[in-house]
Amino acid sequence: MTLTQQIAQFLASGIINGTIYALLGLGLVAIHSATRVVNVAQGEFAALGALLASTLVTRGMPLSLAAAVAVGVAAAVGGGVYRTAIRPARDAGPLTLLIITIALHLSLKGLLLLVWGTDPHSLRPFTAGPPLRIAAAVVTRQSLWVIAVTTVVLVVLYVFFTRTILGKSLRACAVNPTAARLMGIRVERMSALAWMIAGALGGLAGVLIAPLTLATYDMGLILGLKGFVGAVIAGMASYPWTVAACILFGVVESLGAGLISSNYRDGIAFGVLIAALLWRALAALRGGLIISEEAAQE
């Protein structure tokens, strides 16, 4: 392989990974903007979606239906988690909420382990066939599915948040919950909705990547972490920027591993991440201490 081909391949795999991170990152942003919670258990929604879809398909369910069921169940679990674990503690501090989601992560992971065991499960690609050659890179059909579905999801989210009253009221809750209550918007229902959306996005991510990477009960944490990275770089607020940041992170990771050393893959990725965070923070500090303290309180 020539260097050009290699770089093209690194870019392709970086973009695909980044797209998957983005689906998790979007869920994190949905939850955070509505409930100020950083959801450590976001990756478990993906694991749930992946495992459920692969089992259903193995049992003979058509793939499209299995995918829909998996996404639906993940959404329901998201809503259920909010209702049982987050709502009772919604006035607690961010650290407490973080620990609660860590507890959720453990419980969900344990439940997945109980149901599916430690063995990995596989799911067949959405469409069969050999990989395609795009420019100098080789791309599997499933990767194209990932990108296509994510694009559709983005469009749907955009329409939902800017064109529908439900989406607008969800945004309103995120922007100013007190004012939203004064408009008669039931903030807690909207929070539950945000968790359901996050659950669905996570489940969808799981269904999409199961054919690429196999599904295991403990696949969630790393995926969620990488989505978190993108979401934080984008400030935990903006959906399109989260997607951009996640894809960027995927590409940096892939290029770093490819051009420098695969042994240092995560080291390079997180090194770049820390540098980016510091650059952002220092830029804020240049304006003065007040600005950065207010930024911290978000």
């Binding site: 009253i165 607008k168 922007v175 100013n176 007190t178 004012a179 004064l182």
Partner: protein, 251 residues
């Protein structure tokens, strides 16, 4: 105190509310009639904002709240807005990253599904008639507007709920005198259309010109009440709230 009667829209008796351990409203009784503008004046920290938060259910309270002759039991903001009480909150509390149009539309949130789209669109037009300055800014994000325009959006949003009673918390806070004049004019217009308003304001001079009656709060209690014109002449009120202050108070 006016006895609750047919002409009384809101009647509050013995309202008590606390912020944590601090008792901020102590046994307040007041009333608002149909199509009446009533003002509550007092210094910062007198309990005026707490009073409004208690009325909308943002804060738990004890005491009796009657709206149109019916008791409002255990109010919550989601309920009270459906019952017809809408609050234009302190410091406007707009949805800053959303457009002016969306802000106004969300004001009618509880009517969506109950009423036709046309009715809501009609009310949007009504708001733009009241505040023509907003017409060219419908797509602008609320945070990019000037303070005065933001206050117009906040009032418009409150009106979009089509409330029986509009509560306003310090609507004149930090506005330039010219803008204050505009807003007072609009409020008078709204009142002529039959809107009942309970307005809380530090800027006593401005609201006493608008309101028919007024209550004076100090340390969580109503210490005086009566027709606005009478209170405006009251030497004690003049000394405390009219003499030293300038119109534009800031918080």
């Amino acid at each position: 105190m006016n006895a609750p009667g047919d002409d009384v829209l809101l009647a509050v008796e013995g309202l008590e509310a606390a912020y944590g351990q601090v008792q901020a409203v102590r046994g307040v009784s007041l009333s608002v009639g149909h199509s009446e503008v009533v003002a509550v004046i007092g210094a910062n920290g007198a309990g005026k904002t707490t009073l409004l938060r208690a009325l909308t259910g943002l804060l738990p309270s004890r005491g009796r709240i009657m709206l149109g002759g019916r008791p409002v039991a255990r109010p919550s903001p989601e309920e009270t807005v459906r019952l017809g009480i809408s609050l234009v909150p302190e410091r406007r509390q707009l949805f800053e990253s959303m457009s002016v149009r969306d802000n106004l539309l969300l004001g009618a949130y509880h009517r969506i599904g109950q009423e036709s789209r046309a009715a809501i669109e009609e009310d949007l037009r009504r708001v733009f008639v009241l505040f023509p300055a907003l017409v060219n800014r419908t797509a602008s994000r609320a945070r990019t507007l000037s303070g005065g325009m933001q206050q117009m959006v906040a009032i418009g949003r409150g009106l979009m709920a089509r409330p029986r009673l509009l509560l306003m918390d310090e609507p004149l806070l930090g506005l330039a005198p010219l803008v204050i004049r505009d807003i007072l004019g609009t409020l008078a217009q709204v009142q002529h259309q039959g809107q009942s308003i309970l307005i809380v304001e530090q800027n006593a001079k401005a609201v006493l010109g608008l309101a028919a009656r007024a209550y004076v709060m100090e340390a969580g209690r109503v210490v005086r009440h009566g027709p606005a014109t009478t209170l405006a002449q009251d030497p004690a009120v003049r000394a405390a709230y009219l003499g030293g202050h300038v119109e534009s108070a800031e918080g």
